[in-house]
Amino acid sequence: MPIFSYLAIPKKDARKTLCEELSTLEHCQIIPADNQDVVVLVTDTPDDHIEKKLQHTLKSLPSLQSLSLAFGYNEKLE
């Protein structure tokens, strides 16, 4: 049951699109910065299989330039 948080950086002029795309994904919560093109993304998935699928989806988002991991937790490993 992994929980991760990331800093998501949109491609140029794609902040709004990125926020919309991330908001529609299941298991994702976003907190956009007020004054910079940075979005905090928190993922909370029920198992590793869904986590892998989500990661795949995230990597294929056209509006996303980069994703930097800030926090990781996997209950299975605790």
């Binding site: 049951m1 929980i3 991760f4 948080s5 990331y6 800093l7 919560q29 907190i31 956009p32 910065a33 007020d34 004054n35 910079q36 940075v38 905090v40 993304l41 928190v42 909370d44 930097s68 800030a70 926090f71 937790y73």
Partner: protein, 772 residues
């Protein structure tokens, strides 16, 4: 609505991401984040100043099911404008460490046993009375903190100075801010900065004097970086004894030999005069020149006393004094190339540039701390760059209420909430407000902090009550003071939130409410008073420090002076305290205003805050009809001081050939008793280390992580080496962070202090190294 474990972890994940964003993107704000979307929800966001450093960032704390679960920067607070640092984002987790002290403990037959808090308070009152009756009023003492809330410090001062008649009240701010106070008092006659953080938005040049702001004041540093990014030509010059993250981000890093900032500051003044960069109008109208005593000692011996005396000199005499400080001469003392001294002088001297100087512990923890504060003011005064937006000599504080509580309430041996114990008028005012006989207030100061712990060791003090601080980690030359506290007939009371080396020496431990578990006020570096309501309940029998003192006062028979009920005591205490500062120079905001806002800057006159003092465009206390009014001094002028370079108390020699410098890291607050209980912060820097220059490490045959023994004339300590880490000392210097109680570096440091401020120097003593 209940917050389950998984949701709690999710909040930690959010906190980490916000903190990471804060460190990577200067000025980033998430202030409009209103809800934890998709989760069980945060019921309420409430404002508070941050618990940690003296910046005074406004936070909004999210509460769910009676527990503080989330933090974001308060966008309405002008200090941080929605930004937080990593300690701020994780601050609420410090409330919930597993070993939180929730019950009182009393030492019985050598063992601490749990007792009801009322029984512990009975014992504290009984021991205090018994000790005072047997050994006299000055055998009891209170030692507090710049983390005391304003009401904490106020009731402590009222009980000890007003009711018990002893001036044995001190606070750990003596260890961090005393030189700033004496610097202000000697140069301007009034304490605390004339400027405000808005200077950051206006200055063209920032000079950080021995001040690693990137780690110690990260939010202000972010504002500085943001200002540089936003405006063309803004420069940051880092002037330090060690290469730090601040040096890394600066446009220029200038390294000087320890203690020689005195000589460099004088050389800058020399250059300013030589190049005709002096603002003659300003100097003629607003400045007078003075000199004090020299060869003033270091205070390493018990009962050391020193009183300075000011002699007025003229401008010509000041110029003559500076002849010893040509850049070329000072290069030899300081190691700073003459060209770089001239460059610094040219920045201060250029009339088209606005310059702000920042400093904190590097200048204050200095055996000539008062002098170096004076000398940086000298520079700003010569060029008239003061009290206007962007032109600011700015002394930063390290603790959330070093200014609000220790300096303004006056929890130092010589101070009263208004003025000093030596002044009859100030004693009369205190006696009237406190409803005590004026004879009760002793006109003679007793012990400053180092001397207070020496008195405890000698047995002149038998009873000490320590609140919100950890002196058994922080006192220099620590072994002496710990051994003293452990002597048989000493009685030590400690109020704290977690077990520490100080609770280890306690006879009574009182469980304290922490930060937002109580109502209170802090006062930050820019004269801003910040109120916070009680947001969550304290655990177990934990009680606010203010109320602990009131309980003891009532037991000692001072119900008349402490008439308040536990349901409502902060507001009446504030309104009583506010009477001390009535008037245009220091008027404080009423309780109702404080409760509404994210801080209010004093003087607060006719509903208006004061951003720049001594400038009639902003300061209602100015009344001389001129462009500036330095009303703190009787001559209505700011004072320039001729202060020479003098060497430190101890320098490297053949036997002890390295400098030892100590300090902090961004992840940990002071002794780590709170931040080490926050998993993310603890895991980031789990233990202390000694930074060594790579070439010195090679000479010693030491690689990263190898154990190194640090030996001084006071003690020794073995700890792992860090080479080319976040900070790199110069050759011949080592640096040790003091946050880790497993490595008590203060057993090695020296208890020498500035004879004027009595503040110890934690930045300079001599050690030798051995590979362990």
């Amino acid at each position: 609505m209940k917050l389950d474990r998984r949701e709690f972890i999710k909040q930690a994940a959010i906190g980490s991401a916000l903190a990471t964003a804060g460190s990577l993107f200067p000025g980033i704000s998430f202030g409009s984040w209103n809800r934890l979307a998709g989760g069980p929800g945060v019921l309420a966001w409430q404002k508070t100043p941050c618990r940690f450093c003296g910046t005074g960032c406004g936070l909004l704390v999210g509460v769910s099911d009676g527990r503080a679960v989330a933090v974001k920067g308060d966008p309405n607070c002008t200090v941080n404008k929605g930004l937080c640092c990593m300690k701020g984002y994780h601050s609420v987790q410090a409330l919930y460490g597993r070993d939180r002290i929730t019950t009182a403990k009393v030492r019985k037959n050598g063992t601490l046993v749990e007792v009801p808090i009322s029984e512990a308070l009975d014992l504290v009152a009984e021991k205090l009375k018994q000790t005072r009756d047997t050994y006299g009023k000055d055998s009891v003492a209170m030692y507090g903190s710049g983390q005391w809330t304003i009401p904490d410090g106020y009731v402590a001062s009222k009980l000890f100075k007003g009711c018990l008649g002893t001036n044995n009240v001190e606070a750990n701010a003596r260890l961090c801010m005393a030189s700033a106070v004496t610097g202000f008092m000697t140069s301007f006659g009034l304490d605390e900065p004339m400027g405000c953080y808005e200077d950051i938005d206006h200055a063209d040049v920032f000079v950080t004097w021995g001040n690693n702001m990137a780690e110690m004041h990260p939010v202000l540093f972010s504002r500085m970086l943001s200002s540089r990014k936003r405006r063309a030509g803004v420069k940051i010059i880092d002037f330090a004894t060690r290469f730090t993250r601040t040096s890394q981000a600066a446009d220029k890093s200038i390294i000087f030999k320890p203690q020689t900032d005195l000589a460099v500051a004088n050389a800058i003044c020399y250059e300013i005069i030589k190049n005709n960069w002096v603002n003659d109008n300003f100097v003629t109208t607003h400045v007078s020149f003075h000199k004090g005593k020299t060869n003033i000692g270091y205070g390493t011996e018990d009962h050391f006393t020193f009183t300075d005396s000011a002699e007025t000199i003229d401008y010509e005499a000041f110029k003559l004094f500076l002849e010893d400080y040509t850049p070329e001469k000072v290069e030899k003392i300081s190691g700073v190339p003459a060209e770089e001294i001239k460059y610094l002088a040219s920045l201060y001297g250029n009339p088209s540039l606005k310059v702000t100087s920042f400093w904190c512990m590097g200048m204050n923890q200095h055996t000539r701390g008062t002098w170096i504060n004076n000398l940086v003011y000298n520079i700003h005064l010569l060029v008239g760059k003061i009290s206007t937006p962007g032109n600011s000599p700015f002394s930063l504080t390290g603790q959330p209420s070093a200014c609000g509580t220790v300096r303004e309430v006056g929890t130092l041996t010589h101070k009263l909430p208004h003025g000093v114990v030596m002044n009859e008028h100030d004693r009369q005012m205190a006696a009237e407000i406190w409803q005590v006989s004026v004879e009760n207030i002793d006109p003679k100061p007793s012990y400053h902090t180092v001397e207070m712990f020496r008195a405890l060791d000698r047995g002149d003090i038998k009873f000490i009550w320590i609140q919100v601080t950890n002196p058994m980690v922080t006192m220099p030359n620590l072994r002496r003071y710990r051994d003293g506290a452990l002597k048989d007939d000493r009685f030590v009371v400690v109020s704290d939130v977690y077990p520490t080396p100080t609770t280890d020496v306690a006879d009574v431990i009182l469980p304290a409410a922490m930060w937002i578990e109580q109502e209170g006020m802090f006062g930050n570096s820019e004269r801003r008073t910040q109120h916070f309501a009680q947001i969550v309940d304290p655990p177990g029998e934990a009680m606010s420090d203010t109320w602990q003192i009131i309980e003891v006062a009532k037991r000692l028979g001072f119900e008349k002076q402490f008439p308040w009920s536990q349901d409502n005591y902060i507001e009446p205490i504030w309104e009583e305290y506010r009477r001390f500062h009535a008037g245009p120079t220091h008027e404080m905001a009423p309780y109702t205003v404080l409760a509404e806002r994210s801080g209010v800057q004093w003087p607060f006159v006719n509903g208006r805050e004061t951003r720049w003092r001594y400038n009639p465009a902003y300061d209602p206390a100015c009344n001389n009809g001129k462009d500036f009014d330095f009303y703190g001094k009787k001559d209505n002028r700011a004072w320039i001081w001729a202060r020479p370079y003098e060497p430190p108390a101890e320098s490297p020699d053949e036997d002890y050939n390295f400098w030892l410098n100590t300090g902090r890291v961004i992840e940990h607050w002071h002794t780590g008793s709170m931040t080490r209980r926050v998993p993310v912060l603890h895991n980031a820097v789990p233990s202390s280390y000694v930074e060594i220059h790579p070439e010195d490490a090679a000479d010693l045959g030491v690689v990263n992580g190898d154990l190194v023994k640090i030996i001084s004339r006071r003690g020794e300590l073995t700890m792992p080496a860090q080479i080319n880490g976040r900070g790199v000392p110069v050759r011949g210097m080592v640096f040790v962070p003091f946050f880790d109680e497993s490595y008590l570096i203060n057993e090695v440091t020296l208890d020498a202090f500035c004879p004027i401020s009595k503040q110890p120097d934690y930045k300079k003593c001599a050690v030798r190294l051995e590979k362990a």
